[in-house]
Symmetry: C2
Subunit: 84 residues, 2 copies
């Protein structure tokens, strides 16, 4: 079993209204040191080993369902899942 | 300027209906290797150096605004921001 962590971020060129709203809220709370906020998604997938290649699988899932590649970028890390 | 990456995840004990929905969708697309999906948030903050301690600042912001500590956990990394 592998644990795959996927980080999805908006592309640089895309406006992030949610991030701007959070930055506005932080400024109103006197955290004026904050100069930019971008908000993305973080997904943790538990994936069972199979005869399909893990990298191919993760890329397909990201491109078909998990991200919108027009406005988002993604990267991922693979870890050995810890059995509990 | 520092770049702070904050990862917000639901606590283990909290149900993740969004994650379950995504897992259902992946199964219907024949990605049956996926055994669990948890969805969290990923925030990138650009923070200017000030006389306040960065760790104290980030923890305060996370606990007061960015996360709901009743149901969410968070962790963060600090990097030197790259000037563009």
């Amino acid at each position: 079993m592998k644990k795959v962590k996927v980080y999805v971020t908006l592309r640089e060129s895309v406006l992030d209204p949610q991030g701007s709203a959070v930055m506005g809220a932080l400024h109103s709370m006197n955290y004026n040191e904050v100069k930019d906020v971008r908000i993305g998604k973080f997904l943790e997938l538990q994936i069972e080993e199979s005869d399909r290649d893990l990298d191919v699988l993760v890329k397909e899932m990201c491109e078909k369902l998990l991200t919108n590649t027009v406005i988002e970028d993604y990267r991922y890390d693979v870890e050995e899942a810890v059995t509990k």
